[in-house]
């Protein structure tokens, strides 16, 4: 008999989720298209003045990416609960929090990463100065995993309820406020030529905390959901 080593179990879970996402790659394109359309609405709604667009560009891209991620969040554990895969994950000898961490990573790779990839395009549609672009990418790279982790906890908490999409949005958006403040703060500072490292460092610190705590909270919440 050979016991499954932890690394292989992590790889198996990650590979399964990525394969599943690849089999339904149309779903991956959805948030990307949504972000693209929302960004094109800004110049229509506010008028195509460069100065105005430049001023809102960073914040607009940030909020758009956040909302696009929200679209895909709701499905993070749903199919696993419905088909019993989650039960098997709970019963597996590996720590549940780690396995869920892998699922959250897979979810981030398939929803947030495509959004980060198109973010420079979205930003240039809104005339964001090229100098602020690297800071925006850095802010997104720290803010999106944060949202995936926070979102995962809330998805786990609402796992028992039907049609949890709206409830999820109402619960997650207030929690996003600090993330948005720090990410947008860094961007605004970069655009004015001020030092922007402090808000980025705060984001990084919050992410480190969430990386450790969110999977544990997620595991506890899902155990409760299955115990009902």
């Amino acid at each position: 008999m050979s016991q499954a080593p932890l690394g292989r179990a992590c790889a198996a879970v990650l590979r399964r989720d990525l394969t599943l996402a690849w089999r339904r790659r149309g779903d991956i394109a959805m948030p990307v298209l949504y972000a693209l359309i929302v960004t094109t609405l800004f110049p229509f709604a506010l008028g195509p003045e460069n100065a105005l667009l430049q001023r809102i560009a960073g914040g607009a891209v940030l909020v758009t990416v956040l909302l696009a991620m929200l679209l895909a969040l709701d499905g993070m554990f749903r199919s696993d609960i419905e088909d019993g895969s989650l039960e098997q994950l709970v019963l597996a000898p590996q720590p549940l929090a780690l396995m869920l961490g892998m699922k959250i990573l897979a979810h981030w790779l398939t929803t947030a990463l495509p959004l980060i990839v198109i973010a420079p395009m979205l930003a240039s549609m809104l005339q964001l100065p090229a100098a602020a672009m690297p800071v925006m990418m850095l802010a997104l790279a720290l803010a999106t995993p944060m949202l995936s982790l926070l979102g995962a906890v809330l998805v786990a908490l609402t796992a028992g309820t039907r049609r949890s999409g709206m409830l999820l949005a109402l619960m997650l958006l207030p929690l996003c406020v600090p993330v948005v403040i720090f990410a947008a703060g860094a961007l605004a500072a970069a655009q004015q030529g001020l030092p922007w490292i402090a808000p980025i460092a705060w984001l990084g610190a919050a992410l480190a905390l969430a990386l450790v705590l969110a999977p544990l909270a997620c595991a506890a919440a899902l155990r409760i959901a299955l115990d009902a």
């Binding site: 008999m1 050979s2 016991q3 499954a4 292989r8 179990a9 790889a11 198996a12 879970v13 590979r15 399964r16 394969t19 599943l20 089999r23 339904r24 199919s79 419905e82 088909d83 019993g84 895969s85 039960e87 098997q88 994950l89 709970v90 019963l91 597996a92 000898p93 590996q94 396995m99 299955l226 115990d227």
Partner: protein, 209 residues
């Protein structure tokens, strides 16, 4: 007198309540290696709930569980228990082989076994790479049963393993159980139908609604 080996799994005064309504219990039983137990009872008598409690999906309300004579701790026995519930934990977009790779990743694999061989033994040769959603209900069940052959578990908890299966499928489940019991494993099986099991007289656990 032989030295008594502790039972693999033992329950003493095990009860489960749902919102203060008793679902089952108190139950008392011992399951030794090489033994099969049939959980019998009508619909709604708590057979599935019992299995979910034993698997560790539901918490124990009252009573105690023992694993090899020691109070049961999930960390110690998780690798030795495999649970097959109503939901088969198969991903429709993946093939049976890919589905089994997850089980191997999580639980490890028996010596000399691999997904292809396990699928052949449950009669799914030729369907290894077909997406599971295109399989019939009985074939899905067989794909889930292949997991039992594949992972190295001592205790099988099977919830209605005969459901959706044809005559050959039922014979297959009996054959799997006989092989498992003969190899020193133990199994707890719920069923409300008649079971023809040829590997000795199974223990019977009666559930009362």
């Amino acid at each position: 007198m032989t030295v008594a080996t502790p039972p693999l799994l033992a329950a003493s005064a095990l009860s489960f309540y749902r919102q203060d309504e008793p679902v089952f219990g108190p139950l008392q039983f011992e399951l030794h290696p090489g033994q099969l137990a049939l959980v019998e009872g009508d619909n709604g008598s708590g057979k599935t709930t019992l299995l979910r409690v034993l698997a560790g999906l539901l918490h124990v309300d009252e009573g105690e569980l023992f694993w090899r004579g020691e109070p049961l701790q999930r960390d110690h026995c998780a690798a030795e228990i495999v649970f097959l519930g109503h939901q088969l934990a198969l991903k429709g977009d993946l093939s049976p082989r890919e589905n089994l790779h997850i089980a191997v990743g999580l639980h490890g694999v028996r010596d000399g076994m691999d997904p292809t061989r396990a699928l052949r033994e449950v009669g799914l040769a030729g369907y290894e790479d077909e997406p599971v959603r295109r399989l019939s209900a009985g074939q899905k069940k067989r794909a889930a049963l292949a997991r039992l052959l594949l992972v190295p578990a001592t205790l099988w908890l099977l919830d209605e393993p005969y459901a959706n299966l044809d005559r050959h499928g039922i014979a297959l489940v009996n054959r799997l159980l006989e092989g498992h019991v003969a190899a020193g494993g133990a199994a707890l099986v719920t069923s409300h139908g008649a079971v023809s099991f040829h590997g000795g007289e199974p223990q019977r656990i009666r559930m009362h609604a």
